[in-house]
C-alpha cells in the first residue's frame, strides 16, 4: 500500500518538473522580452541624462518631475509643463475619437461580413486584412496623398465645384485621426466579427417575434451579445493609437505631437533618455488605467455569456 502511495507521489513530482520544463520557453520569452526591457526603462527613468544622449549613472528624480512640471530657467520655480499636458490630452482625445469612429465604421462592416453566406465570409475577411500586407509607412503616405491640399480628395472636390479652395486637412489633428482610423480599423473589425459570427441569429428572430423593431433588436439584443468583441476591438484600437508614432509624425507634420513623438524626441534630438523613459512609463500607466476603467465599466451586465 505504502509503495503505491510513494509511486503516486513520485509521479506527481515528475509531473510538476515536466510542467516547468515545458513552460520554460514561455517564461524565458516573458522575462527577456517583457520584464527585462521594462526593468531597464524603469532604471533609466531614475538616472541623469548624459550630454550626448545615453545616461549618467547617478540617481535622480528630475526626469519624473519634468514629466508634468517644468523648471523655470531663471528662477528655478516649478510650474505645470503645459506642452506635455497638452500632448497627453491630445493623445488621449485623438485615441478615443479614433476608437469611436473605428467602432462606427467597424460595426456595420463586421455585421455585413457575419451575415454573408459562409462561403463568401472568408473572402471578405481576406479583403479586410489586405492593408496589413503593406508597410505602415507606405500606407500612411498613401493617406497623405489622398488628403493633402493638392491631393485626390481636394482636387476631386474642386473639380466638382463643391469647394473653391482646398480644405486644410493635412497637418491637423483630423488628419492624424483619419490616418489612425485607416490603419487600425481592421483591429476593430476582426474581434467584432469573431463575436458576431458566434451570435445566434435565432435570438434576433426571437426579438422580432417579441415586437422589437430593427433598432431595438440592435440595441437590446445584438449590442449586448457582441460586447466582448466591442471591448476587445476598442482595446486593440485605443492602445496602439495612444502610442502611435509614424502616423502623427507624417500626417501631423511635426507640429501636432502625440505621446509617441514626444518620447521619440527625448531619445533623439532632446538627448534626455531618462525623461523619455519616464514618459514611456507614464504612457504605460495611462493605458493600464484606461483598460481597468474600461473593463470594469464594460464588464457589468456582460458576464453571462461567451
Amino acid at each position: 500500500m505504502a509503495g503505491a502511495a510513494e509511486t503516486a507521489r513520485k509521479a506527481e513530482r515528475d509531473d510538476i518538473r515536466k510542467r516547468w520544463l515545458l513552460s520554460a520557453p514561455a517564461l524565458l520569452i516573458i522575462f527577456f522580452a517583457a520584464a527585462g526591457p521594462l526593468a531597464i526603462v524603469v532604471v533609466y527613468s531614475f538616472l541623469e541624462p548624459g550630454s550626448y544622449g545615453d545616461v549618467r549613472w547617478t540617481f535622480s528624480t528630475d526626469a519624473w518631475v519634468s514629466v508634468i512640471l517644468q523648471r523655470d530657467i531663471f528662477d528655478e520655480t516649478l510650474s505645470i509643463a503645459d506642452a506635455h499636458v497638452a500632448i497627453f490630452w491630445r493623445s488621449v482625445l485623438l485615441s478615443l475619437a479614433t476608437t469611436v469612429f473605428a467602432f462606427l465604421f467597424g460595426f456595420p462592416t463586421a455585421y455585413f461580413i457575419a451575415t454573408r453566406p459562409e462561403r463568401t465570409r472568408a473572402l471578405w475577411l481576406f479583403l479586410i486584412t489586405i492593408p496589413f500586407w503593406t508597410n505602415l509607412l507606405i500606407r500612411t503616405f498613401a493617406i497623405q496623398e489622398v488628403i493633402r491640399n493638392e491631393g485626390l480628395l481636394n482636387v476631386a472636390l474642386m473639380k466638382l465645384g463643391l469647394i473653391s479652395a482646398p480644405i486644410q486637412i493635412i497637418y491637423t489633428d483630423t488628419a492624424i485621426m483619419i490616418g489612425m482610423l485607416y490603419v487600425y480599423l481592421p483591429l476593430m473589425v476582426l474581434p467584432l466579427y469573431a463575436s458576431m459570427e458566434k451570435l445566434d441569429f435565432r435570438l434576433v428572430e426571437a426579438g422580432y417575434d417579441l415586437y422589437a423593431t430593427r433598432f431595438q433588436v440592435l440595441r437590446r439584443i445584438i449590442l449586448p451579445m457582441v460586447k466582448p468583441g466591442i471591448v476587445a476591438g476598442s482595446i486593440l484600437v485605443f492602445i496602439p493609437s495612444l502610442g502611435a508614432y509614424v502616423t502623427p509624425r507624417i500626417l501631423g507634420g511635426g507640429r501636432n505631437l502625440m505621446l509617441g513623438n514626444l518620447i521619440e524626441l527625448q531619445f533623439g534630438q532632446g538627448r534626455n533618455w531618462p525623461l523619455g523613459a519616464s514618459l514611456s512609463i507614464t504612457l504605460l500607466v495611462i493605458v493600464m488605467a484606461a483598460l481597468l476603467i474600461y473593463i470594469r465599466y464594460a464588464g457589468t451586465g456582460g458576464r453571462n455569456h461567451g
Binding site: E205, D209, Y211, A212, N304, H305
Partner: protein, 364 residues
C-alpha cells in the same frame, strides 16, 4: 374568455414556399390550405423535413410565402413585419436571451410594446406564477435546467397575450417524464389563457393526446385534417394510416356503396362493411385498413384465416401475427386479462373476426 369557437384565427390559403431560386428550388410547402379555429389546440404532425417549421415561420413572418396568402382573423397579414403580428413563437431552441434574467426575458415583449412599468411587473409576476417559476425570477437563463428554460420560453411568448401562439416542437428536448408533465401543463395553459395554439410535433402520441385537431403533413402537403379520433379511426390515405399507430393493409374490391359506407370483398372472399372517405367513390380495387385492436382471433367463423406465426407480449396487451392464407401478415391486438383462458399457440390455425365498422377504405 374563449370567443366564438367557429371563427377562424388563422387561414392558410393555397400557400406555397420554395427555397432557393435557380434550376432546383426546394419545395418546402406545396399549395397548402387549412383553417385554424379560434381557441383551438391545433397540431401539425409529420416526419422530419415535411415543412412544419416552414409553415410556422410563414405565420410568424420570418419568411414569406412564394405563393398564396395567410389571413389572421380574416385580415391578410402579408404586409405586417414580424414585430407587428399579434403572434408569438416558442422556438424549438427556446432562443432565450442569455444576457437577461428570467424575469427580464419574460418582460421583453411587453417592454417593446411600450406598456407601463407597473403593468409589466404585474404581468411578469403573473406569468412566473403560471409556469411555476417564481423563485427563479432573477436567475440568469444560462443557469436553469432545460425544462425550466422551456417554461420561461413559454411564459415569454404568452406574456404579451398574443392572439396565436406558435410552438415548434417545444417538448422534443425534454426527457420522458418531464415531457408528460409539460404536455399536461400546456393543455392547462391553453385552457386558462384561451389563446389559439399551433403546435408542431413529430410525435404521434403527443399529437393524439393533446390536440383538438391534427393536420398530418408529408413532403410539403397537408394530407388530412381532423380530430385525433378522426385521424386514428378514419385515415383517408395510406401515409396517414401508416404514420399513426399500427395498421393492417388489405387489398379489396368494392362490391356496393352507399352514403359513406361500402361493401368490400376481401381476398378471402368474405364481404365486409367499410367506411369510405368523404367525397370518394370507387368501384374497382381499393386498399382497406383495419387497426389491430379492432379485430379479434377466433377458432372459426371469421372473415380471414391463417396460421399464427408470432405472439408478442406487451404487458398491457398481446400482438398476434397471423400469416394470412391469401398472403401477407395481419396483426391482431388483444388486451391482456388475468384469467387463464386457453390461449392460441404459435403454429395454430386461426380465424380473424373483423369488428363491425372497423374497416376503412383509403383514398389511394
Amino acid at each position: 374568455m374563449p370567443e366564438s369557437p367557429d371563427r377562424n384565427a388563422i387561414e392558410i390559403r393555397r400557400v406555397s414556399k420554395f427555397f432557393g431560386g435557380g434550376d432546383a428550388p426546394v419545395k418546402a410547402l406545396d399549395t397548402v390550405s387549412v383553417a385554424i379555429r379560434e381557441n383551438e389546440f391545433f397540431t401539425l404532425l409529420g416526419p422530419s423535413g415535411c415543412g412544419k417549421t416552414t409553415l410556422l415561420r410563414l405565420i410568424a413572418g420570418f419568411d414569406f410565402p412564394t405563393d398564396g396568402e395567410i389571413l389572421l382573423h380574416g385580415q391578410d397579414i402579408a404586409p405586417l413585419p414580424p414585430y407587428k403580428r399579434p403572434v408569438n413563437t416558442v422556438f424549438q431552441s427556446y432562443a432565450l436571451f442569455p444576457h437577461l434574467t428570467v424575469a427580464q426575458n419574460i418582460a421583453f415583449g411587453l417592454e417593446m410594446l411600450g406598456r407601463p412599468k407597473a403593468e409589466i411587473d404585474a404581468r411578469v409576476t403573473q406569468m412566473l406564477k403560471l409556469v411555476r417559476m417564481e423563485e427563479l425570477r432573477n436567475r440568469s437563463t444560462a443557469q436553469i435546467s432545460g425544462g425550466q428554460q422551456q417554461r420561461v420560453a413559454l411564459a415569454r411568448a404568452l406574456a404579451p397575450q398574443p392572439k396565436v401562439l406558435l410552438l415548434d416542437e417545444p417538448l422534443s428536448a425534454l426527457d420522458f417524464k418531464l415531457r408528460k408533465e409539460m404536455q399536461i401543463e400546456l393543455k392547462r395553459l391553453q385552457h386558462e389563457t384561451g389563446i389559439t395554439f399551433i403546435f408542431v410535433t413529430h410525435d404521434q402520441e403527443e399529437a393524439l393526446t393533446m390536440s383538438d385537431r391534427i393536420a398530418v403533413m408529408s413532403a410539403g402537403n397537408i394530407l388530412q385534417v381532423g380530430s385525433p379520433k378522426d385521424i386514428y379511426d378514419r385515415p383517408a390515405v395510406r401515409f396517414v394510416a401508416d404514420f399513426i399507430g399500427e395498421t393492417n393493409f388489405l387489398e379489396a374490391t368494392v362490391e356496393s356503396s352507399s352514403d359513406g359506407r361500402a361493401g368490400v370483398r376481401l381476398g378471402s372472399g368474405a364481404v365486409i362493411e367499410a367506411s369510405v372517405p368523404e367525397g370518394f367513390s370507387s368501384t374497382g380495387k381499393v386498399t382497406v385498413v383495419i387497426r389491430p385492436e379492432h379485430a379479434r382471433l377466433a377458432e372459426a367463423g371469421g372473415e380471414l384465416s391463417g396460421k399464427l406465426s408470432n405472439i408478442v407480449y406487451f404487458g398491457t396487451d398481446t400482438h398476434f401475427h397471423v400469416d394470412l392464407d391469401v398472403g401477407g401478415t395481419f396483426i391482431v391486438r388483444e388486451q391482456n386479462t388475468r384469467d387463464d383462458r386457453r390461449r392460441a399457440r404459435e403454429g395454430d390455425r386461426v380465424s380473424i373476426v373483423v369488428g363491425k365498422g372497423a374497416a376503412q377504405v383509403l383514398r389511394d
